[in-house]
C-alpha cells in the first residue's frame, strides 16, 4: 500500500462520510444497536454459564451413610465414589459437623428442642465436574452398599442448564440476524457514496488505477462507520451493563454470582473489532459490483 493510496483513501472516505452524514449516522446507529444487543447477550450468556458453573459446585450429591458403618468401610466407600467419572471431590462430613451447621443455620427459625444429634449420620459431600452428570452419578452411588440415601439437586440443575442453553441459542440467533442487518445498512450507505462517485470510479478505472486503490476509500469509510458503531455499542453496553447485572442479581438471587468473567478490554475491543468487520464487509459488498469489468 503506497502513501498515495493511503492519502487518497483518508481524504475520500472523510468526504464520503461528511457528504452522506445522515446515512452515516444511520449506519453508526444500527451498527451500535446491533452490537450492543450482541454484546449484552454475550455478557448475559456468559454470566448465566458462570452462574450455573458456580451453582453446580453447590448442587453436589450428598451421600448419607448407614449408621453402623466402620471407619475402614467408610474409607473404601470414599475411594469407590472418587473412582466414579465426573467426580471432582469427595468430602466426609461428620454427624457432629452437620449438627453444628443445622444449629447455626436454623437457630431462631425452628424449634430444635426435640432433635438429637444421634439421629444424624455421617455423609459424603460429592462435588461433580459438570452438573449435567448429577443424575447419573447419583444413580451409580445408589448401587453401592452401605449407602443410606443419596440426595441430589437434579431438577434445579437441569432447569438452570436448560435455561442457559436457551439464552445462548436466542442470543446467537438474534445476534446473527442483527449482524446481517447492520452489514446491509452499512453496505447501503457505502453504495450511496459509490453511486455519487461512479463517474470518478469509471475514470479511475479508465486511466489505470488499480482496483485496490479504488476500493480503499470505501473500505476505510465502512470500517470507520463500523468502528464508530462499535464505540457506540461499548457506551450502551457499559451503561446498561451495570444496571443489568444489578437487575439480574435482584430477580434471580440464586444467580448471585452473576458475572461474565470477561476481561473488559477484550470485550470492548471485540465490540469495536466486530464493528470494523461489519463495516468492511458491507463496503466490500457494495463496491464489488462497480469494480466488475
Amino acid at each position: 500500500m503506497s502513501l498515495r493510496s493511503l492519502e487518497f483513501a483518508v481524504v475520500e472516505s472523510a468526504t464520503g462520510i461528511v457528504r452522506n452524514s445522515l446515512m452515516s449516522v444511520a449506519s453508526v446507529t444500527t451498527v451500535g444497536l446491533s452490537l450492543a444487543i450482541l454484546g449484552s447477550f454475550v455478557l448475559l450468556a456468559l454470566g448465566l454459564n458462570n452462574a450455573v458453573q458456580s451453582e453446580m459446585s453447590k448442587f453436589e450429591v450428598a451421600v448419607w451413610l448407614k449408621g453402623d458403618i466402620s471407619e475402614i468401610e467408610a474409607t473404601n466407600l470414599e475411594l469407590e465414589i472418587r473412582a466414579l467419572p465426573h467426580v471432582k471431590s469427595v468430602e466426609l462430613i461428620s454427624a457432629e459437623a452437620t449438627w453444628e451447621k443445622i444449629k447455626k443455620d436454623w437457630r431462631d427459625k425452628i424449634e430444635l428442642g426435640g432433635v438429637q444429634p444421634t439421629s444424624l449420620t455421617d455423609h459424603f459431600r460429592v462435588t461433580l465436574s459438570d452438573a449435567r452428570y448429577t443424575a447419573g452419578t447419583a444413580e451409580s452411588v445408589r448401587k453401592i452398599s452401605k449407602v443410606e440415601e443419596v440426595i441430589e439437586g437434579r431438577q434445579i440443575v437441569e432447569q438452570v442448564v436448560r435455561f442457559a442453553d436457551f439464552v445462548n441459542l436466542i442470543g446467537w440467533c438474534t445476534a446473527g440476524v442483527l449482524f446481517l442487518i447492520a452489514a446491509f445498512i452499512v453496505s447501503n450507505t457505502i453504495r450511496l457514496t459509490v453511486y455519487a462517485r461512479r463517474r470518478e470510479i469509471k475514470i479511475m478505472q479508465l486511466v489505470g488505477a488499480t482496483n485496490w486503490f479504488i476500493r480503499l476509500p470505501y473500505l476505510f469509510e465502512g470500517t470507520v462507520l463500523g468502528a464508530l458503531g462499535g464505540g457506540a455499542a461499548c457506551l450502551l453496553v457499559f451503561g446498561g451493563g451495570c444496571y443489568l447485572e444489578e437487575a439480574v442479581a435482584k430477580i434471580m438471587p440464586l444467580l448471585a454470582q452473576f458475572s461474565s468473567g470477561l476481561d473488559p478490554m477484550r470485550f470492548y475491543g471485540g465490540l469495536v473489532g466486530a464493528g470494523c468487520f461489519i463495516g468492511a464487509m458491507g463496503s466490500l459488498i457494495s463496491i464489488r459490483r462497480f469494480l466488475k469489468v
Binding site: I203, V207, T210
Partner: protein
Amino acid sequence: MIEFADVSVTYPDDIQALRDINLKIEKGEFAFIVGPTGTGKSTLLKLVYREETPTKGRVIVGGRDVTKLRGGAVARLRRGIGVVFQDFRLLPQRTAAENVAFALYVTGASGKEMRVRVPEVLDLVGLADRADAYPHQLSGGEQQRVSIARALVHNPPILLADEPTGNLDPDTSWDIIQLLSRINLRGTTIVVASHDQHIVDRMTKRVIALDKGAVARDEEKGKYYELAKP
C-alpha cells in the same frame, strides 16, 4: 500493435455484437472504424482496453493477449492506452489541469511528475492558457482537448477515440481530428470510431467498416461509403 483473432462477442439473449473479427492495426497507424450506430464500433474499442472480454477469440495488444489479464495487469494495460469519448467524461468540480493531473494522481505518480507532465500535455493540445478553467467554463472543443490531454498524460502508445466529434460542430470536429492526426505523427497508434462522414472522407486514412458486427470492408485510404457504387 492491436490484433483481433476470430473475435466474437455475444451478449446474453444471443445478441451478437461482434462476429469473427480478424484485424491487425500496426504501430503508428491511424485507422477509422465506421458503421451505423449499434454495429459494434464501441465494443471493438472496449475489447482493446479490456472493458469487455470476447466470448470467443483473442485480442492481442502490444504482443499480449489481454483477454487473460486480471486485476493489476488490467490497470497497467490501461496506463498504456488513452481513451477519449464523445461525452468527454471530465470531472465537473475539477479544473482542466486537475482533471489531467487526476489520471496521474490515482496511478501513484509523484508530485514532481505531475508538475512537469500536466502543463506539457495541456500545451500539446493547445490549452496551456486554460489550465485553471472548470469544464463548464470551456467550450465543447476545449473540453474534448482536456480529455485528450488526460488520455495522453501517461504517454500511451495507443489512443482510442469513441466518436470524439459526436458532440461538436463541424469546424471544431475538424480541429480535434487534426489534433489527433498531429499526435499520430509523434508515433502514437490511433483508432477512431466515427460516423462522421465528412471527416472520414477528408482524412483518407484506413477505414474499417463494420456491418452488423462483422467487418464489411477494410481499405487503406478509404472513404466512409464504398466508392464505386453502381
